[in-house]
Symmetry: D2
Subunit: 397 residues, 4 copies
């Protein structure tokens, strides 16, 4: 269906250039699979590594015809081809996002980028402004908001079904840093190494890596911004300097209470991502482990369990659904929804058409900027031991 939208607008698939995700990468296959899932993209070109040989070998291994050894070279070559790429997908370490995204936008390409948008607020804001000024799309793969039932949750909460919102709680916990892995740097996977390196991974590992997902999930579902935080962010193991845990009490801009627990020392918790939100008339609960269900609670009445695929769901969820109820969808499909939203936005941009408003709910540059403002506030609160406002210099939500 999405493919039909893209074909109708463009008469072809969106041509995508990949940046990052060489052989051995964990996130590379996720992006490529997500891009392939709904068949809206041609994976036409790519630079897969800063090591030229590794980049070309990866292109060959992935069966991608136009391998390059340098991002700038790819952009230059592709933008002069008749069948050149329309957009790039960035899945490199965080510290390079700005450079690659800026170059692509400057060349008139649309961009889909892994989170966090950058490692600091200023460069994120600069990218958001650049995308705006150039009139190009900049999407961010906050994949948890691609789950249909997360979109149902948003429609439920922002549509007033649970009444005036009072309390929100998000957990994103896993155990990838339960043990002092940094004590044996030789045994660390490269992807762990650069993430723990503040120069590449950002000043707060846990916040940049998974905290921004929790922040986006909470903001997306509730449809409002976090105004202030009372946080304690840092390491949990003796001798560790990298931040592995973020504990946050927060207030939304309308005074609603929120809470967040984000940690990488939750041993045995298998990447648990969940949100619960309560209003005066009801509540919602979603948990990635049961991604196809949304629990809707109602004051003094039986709970509802809404299941992906039911005809009674909001269009937000319908749009993001491929299979009938009882045929579960999961992580790849949610990730693909972000890619497919992007494909529709790109196709509409090129065709000069109005995209589906629901596709525009997909995370964008401003989402990324908000995330970095949130990180800054959490770190300030941790440093001072008291409340810190989240400062947004920008208007757009």
């Amino acid at each position: 269906m999405s493919q039909a939208v893209v074909f109708k607008l463009l008469g072809r698939r969106v041509r995508l250039g990949l940046i990052g995700g060489a052989q051995g990468s964990l996130i590379g296959p996720v992006h490529r699979t997500a891009a392939r899932l709904d068949d809206c993209f041609d994976l036409a070109a790519g630079v897969f590594s800063s090591d030229p040989e590794r980049s070309l070998n990866s292109a060959h291994a992935f069966g991608i015809k136009r391998g390059y050894t340098d991002v700038q070279a790819m952009i230059e070559a592709e933008t002069v081809r008749a069948d050149g790429i329309d957009a790039v997908a960035i899945m490199t370490p965080n510290d390079s996002h700005y450079e690659y995204a800026a170059a692509a936008l400057d060349a008139g390409l649309d961009v889909i980028c892994d989170k966090p948008l950058t490692n600091d607020y200023d460069s994120a804001l600069a990218l958001a402004r650049k995308a705006h000024d150039r009139g190009r799309i900049l999407s961010l793969t906050h994949n948890y908001s691609g789950y249909p039932m997360v979109r149902e949750a948003r429609a439920t909460v922002t549509g007033g079904e649970i009444g005036a919102l009072r309390l929100v709680n998000v957990r994103y916990v896993q155990g990838s840093l339960s043990r002092p892995v940094e004590a044996e740097p030789d045994k660390m996977a490269p992807r762990t190494k650069w993430r723990l390196d503040t120069a590449k991974g950002g000043k707060s590992h846990v916040l940049g890596d998974i905290g921004v997902h929790a922040h986006q999930l909470m903001s997306f579902v509730c449809g409002r911004r976090i105004a202030a935080v009372l946080a304690d962010v840092g390491p949990s193991l003796p001798g560790r300097t990298a931040h592995d845990t973020a504990q946050v009490i927060l207030k939304f801009d309308d005074g609603t209470r929120g809470q967040m627990l984000v940690s990488k020392v939750a041993t045995g918790a298998q990447n648990v991502v969940s949100i619960e939100a309560y209003g005066e008339d009801g509540g919602i609960f979603w948990n990635q482990a049961e991604a196809n269900d949304l629990r809707v609670m109602r004051l003094n009445r039986a709970d509802e369990v809404r299941t992906r695929g039911l005809p009674s769901l909001h269009p937000h969820a319908q749009r993001a659904t491929r299979l009938p109820t009882g045929h579960p969808e999961a992580f790849f499909e949610a990730f693909a929804n972000i890619y497919t939203d992007f494909a529709e936005l790109v196709a509409a941009r090129i065709a000069g058409a109005e995209p589906d408003p629901l596709a525009q709910l997909t995370p964008n540059a401003w989402t990324g900027v908000d995330g970095l403002a949130f990180i800054d506030a959490c770190l300030e609160s941790t440093a001072t031991g008291t409340w810190a406002d989240v400062v947004y210099e920008h208007d757009r939500f």
Copy 2:
């Protein structure tokens, strides 16, 4: 089995005098049922209400032979009878706990009391000292620690099975105050009314009513004290003054991180009480809704689901179990475990015998004092907006 212990020591049941819990009370039937469950008590006497007629009517309605109209009168009359009560069970509004418990202890009676022990730290400490000085038992009905699998959790965590503890999270959320019920005082149930009245219910409704349960659950399972808190406690509805929500980031005395969400505006959350704790080697998760199971997570290995009744459980859980696996036990049985521990402690005290050390894990006066210290710290942190130490003037954990 517990009955056998009591009979062996005393040759009879423990004789109990009830204070509070008249007809129409919610908690009264819970206490009486819990006391009856293992048949270790004679419910021999009682003052059920400060209204003399209501007290006597309740005694008659409950089939309890010796109804009184005044606590002091009951204590005086019973202590001179050959078959007089050994102990009292207090289930009155919080502000009367001190008076009744002190009078009973002064008369040489043992006491089992609903939580919170009192409404302020000083009087709680005075009771704890009095119980100690008089050599009498003072148990507190923190019933969640009566669940066999919570005791299994404690044995697992404190026994080192999950390695060095790093992170603990407790949720106690319900929706009893989701709506502004105080706006129509005439429609409020008496039990809600006194609880929201700070003179009777204490300075922070949510902390005194359910926060102390969360505090005790966390301390009990982890076997350590909370040292400092960063908290935001207060109302969540416009116009409300009563505290309905407590959000707490905390540190244990060994530096372990903890977090707590306690709220009465979680509409549709059915008295959700859960704890998760993570160490370097594994984790545990317990949730009242699946009270017969304890999830034990292990680094890079399959989770274990331990079920009440299995022969492989720790003696802590075995002791608190009546039925084989697959025959679930629940709230009353957990509450009864506190009563039965108390019966064994009383019988041992009277007989001059050593009680089972596992019975001594049951919540006592010091647990109550700790809870009030925790409340004070949370309120101080809320007022100052920064960390507050939990001040313990007493030694005993």
Copy 3:
């Protein structure tokens, strides 16, 4: 509340004489706890074992004043006392149920009896007729139908909420006979031994022990009788003669399809008891492991999860509920509901009053007769390898 009903009718508790359940028994404490839970009974007398010394020791150990050494003697002595027992509770091996129940009924006492009612259809029918002729109550502890949400399920299905019924499936599986325990008779618990002895336990162990529960659960929830069965009942281990598994395809009297899996070789299945029923408009699912919830499914709409304690439940469930939502009840409370129904029926019978019609839904002698007819049909079908009708010589459902 039930206590209030009994006191209003009788001015006192129902006086109960216990038959069976000596020290070391598994089911004895369950019956006594269930009888004690709502405080509707005086456990006034008892014969606990056919061994006189063991019987008296048990009476002493349980704190029951009037211990006897012989059932007939108890009945004679009690029926002449002013404060003699009103009823007996039978928890002895199956082969003695008839004798004790008949003697009690003949003496004008009401009876509550463990299942199966007897080991054969004829004696069960004789007891049912005797109870009817004598005008006495004969209740049967099919405890699973005591769960409030099973009663909600019945009200939902029989009230037409799920439309015309089409398919019902019941599972009752456990692993108590997974291993060839009978190969080492010396190590077998006495309760296993008599149950596997066909003279005492009945001709088909699995059907008499747990199959009748599955049968009653299914009949109770659906409010209709099983008309015919296609069954395979027998042992599953090489060398075993005792029946450990019953597999049944069945038709209700209105043609509705049903299926049943009952087994004691389901290793690690912790006494799993569940029922699902489907009609043209919806379905229900209940599972003992989540006893406080009833899932109600609805064609093309979100599922409902109804929770014990909600004000929106049917009176059938409300009546059987003690605690608010989120404070779970379990096995003992469900068992107690059968005892409490019995107490109300006995009190009404003595007082010459009409009992609550909902109390009359509790399993009775006819339930027991139906169960034995079902056993006979399953065994006939197994023997012939084809369908067998369930023959009911009696009218009453």
Copy 4:
């Protein structure tokens, strides 16, 4: 990784011709998405409908370059092209499977085909023999056996971890025929219409459509064949002739008991597919709704919950896994595993190499033949009302 295997063997992707799955089809997108997921195939050609215009329009809509209007024409044209297809994927109504598969095999192409293989045993056997004689691959999309944790279940059961197998139970229930949809043929979806038409969909709708999945799941996990059945298969609604429900008691060839409930009148059951198997030492339970977990039960010990992605799983599950634990995979990924196994088998066949033995576990023509033998036995048992043997004229399991 699978792509790497294919590229290593072939130097390119497997070229696939699609048969069926025009615009509006439900199963077409599933096959195409599954084929695309791991990027092992070029979807190079296709005949999407027997309506020529619809076929070509679909090719265009799907962006597939070589659209054809006739299967034979496609096979002829492609087999003479240097870059012609290696294999076909058949997703047409059941009655055409034989013709298309036979034509493809005769032309030297490999085949992957939707289930059931055909509508009758003889033609299925003929296809199996043809595939064998021609030395070509014939895979069958029994997608449930593509789930990694189903493969873990097989490894666990067949590896002896749960001891000698004693009891197996499978449920495959949904509510797609809860209502008498055939009463309004004009409103029926085309895919429902042909399925209920016995000429196209086969003699027993429920068995051909989902019963063969249940049969294959059971056989696959247990690694043994069903020898005899006691079944009742037919409609459940008054006036319906199509079979909507199959109830089966069965024996495996080693005497192990099995049971099956397969129905399309389970209103509100969302395509529930589950299997439980019990041996003397333990048991397993898997349910599609929690597809990433396998519950492993162990006599008198805590259950294990094994999660997809754990390093401790069997290679059977590892091979079928793309994402780390906690990043759930679901229906498409399981379906893709069948396609990817097929790609590896085809590549190895062409390259003259030995495929991974684990890829050879994927369902094949013999699986299809077994399924049709099972259908025949169930129908015979239903007709006679007694046990029927499953007759296998072929040797291979």
